[in-house]
Symmetry: C2
Subunit: 245 residues, 2 copies
């Protein structure tokens, strides 16, 4: 529990390797996570090879963790394996649709997070790469993913070579709704974001980006509407290409 | 680690309550999970009230856990709170699209699974309800979810009143690919599914359902193509209704 309470994302790693034995042990634990109908509609692609990291790097906007971490893991929705099994057993699969993309994504993400909790418990550090769904087509090419397989998230993994401060979170009141969703009043928003907005690192963030508010750093610099819409188009096209809609 | 290795899904619970203090502690831990840009694009709706469980029950095809568990938690993608904050801070949000539905789903599922691992470590039992994305519109109505909020998974939670056997998993070789995705040959499929197909409970499953193969139980009884396609349509319509595409 303590490693879960104290967790930090780790972006810098020691040269030290993560042994195949440890990696397999953690992956076995991860596969104990809940899975729809015990179908295990996911696959994980392990990257250790420097040339493969080089290939993946642009898909993740060349974030340095990809090339520097000893291990990169790409967690994929996988309805290919299950469908192949069906076809080989006189059964007609029907998993080439949006519902099973989402169901497979749930499966894959429960495995990913179970892996991460177990890895952190062992002292390893991880970083999630949200870029995975921005450039899925590049990842599909690099990892040779067939139809009905789709990369949903990526983590970099290694022994920590930094010990960053733990970052802030919104108060629990902002997240947890009792019985029904209680929509936020203007006062609620002010109260719930007050602590985040008061933090020196966030004030610095506004100044560095020459913005008036912290929210503007998100909307005008980090996650812009035009980019989001472009990435949505790519995502939809790639879902079609992989046979999910 | 031991509770992760030994985990089982629990569908029967004692009458004993889960205290608000314990629930909040576990939720605080869950919120330490990684989140895109520290935006926390999720909300959780807590159901304890019997009348609310009654309302949710049909959306989950009346699976008995919903009414019998002391606690039901619906994990939602939430871009409403963040967008409201942006609007109140002279920032124009652009999160009403498919990319942010998927990004929010990643966020919400990492929180859900962290919650479950922590809960199981404390001796609680959980069951995921995959029905959440089959009938999202009914859940949206019951929990009064506004635009840009979408239920992605549900768990039932309580103190275990059963101790089921641990179920099988595919060998790790089936899941983990080295460097690139290695597509499955006919021999691979036979080898990887052999253990699952040999299990007495699965042989019984074929007989009870009067099928020739285990795969046919999945395709003809449990997760049928026509149902999957209908649920995909509902999912897409509900994504549109909630403003994600």
């Amino acid at each position: 529990m303590e490693s879960m309470k104290q967790r930090r994302t780790i972006r810098r790693y020691q040269e030290k390797d993560v042994t195949p034995e440890l990696l397999n042990e953690l992956m076995e634990i991860a596969c104990r996570a809940s899975t729809v109908g015990n179908m295990q509609t996911y696959s994980v692609v392990l990257t250790r090879d420097a040339a493969m990291k080089e290939k993946l790097s642009p898909a993740h906007f060349n974030q340095p963790m990809v090339k520097k971490a000893p291990v990169v893991l790409t967690f994929c929705v996988d309805l290919n394996r299950f469908s192949k099994w069906c076809e080989q057993r006189q059964a007609i699969p029907g998993y080439d649709n949006l519902q099973w993309f989402v169901t497979g994504a749930v499966d894959a993400l429960l495995v990913a997070q179970t892996f991460c909790v177990a890895a952190e418990e062992r002292g390893l550090g991880i970083c999630y790469l949200g870029t995975t769904t921005y450039n899925p087509n590049q990842i599909i090419d690099a990892l040779q993913l067939p139809k009905l397989v789709f990369p949903i998230t990526t983590i970099t993994l290694g022994w920590p070579d930094e010990s960053p401060e733990q970052v802030d979170r919104l108060p629990l009141e902002a997240i947890l709704h009792q019985e029904t969703y209680h929509d936020y009043s203007a006062d609620d928003i002010d109260r719930l974001y007050a602590y985040k907005e008061s933090l020196p690192e966030n004030l610095k963030f506004i100044e560095e980006n020459k913005k008036e508010t912290l929210a503007q750093v998100f909307t005008d610099v980090r996650y812009k509407k035009a980019d989001n819409e472009l990435f949505s188009e790519v995502l939809l096209e790639t879902l079609k290409k992989q046979g999910f809609c």
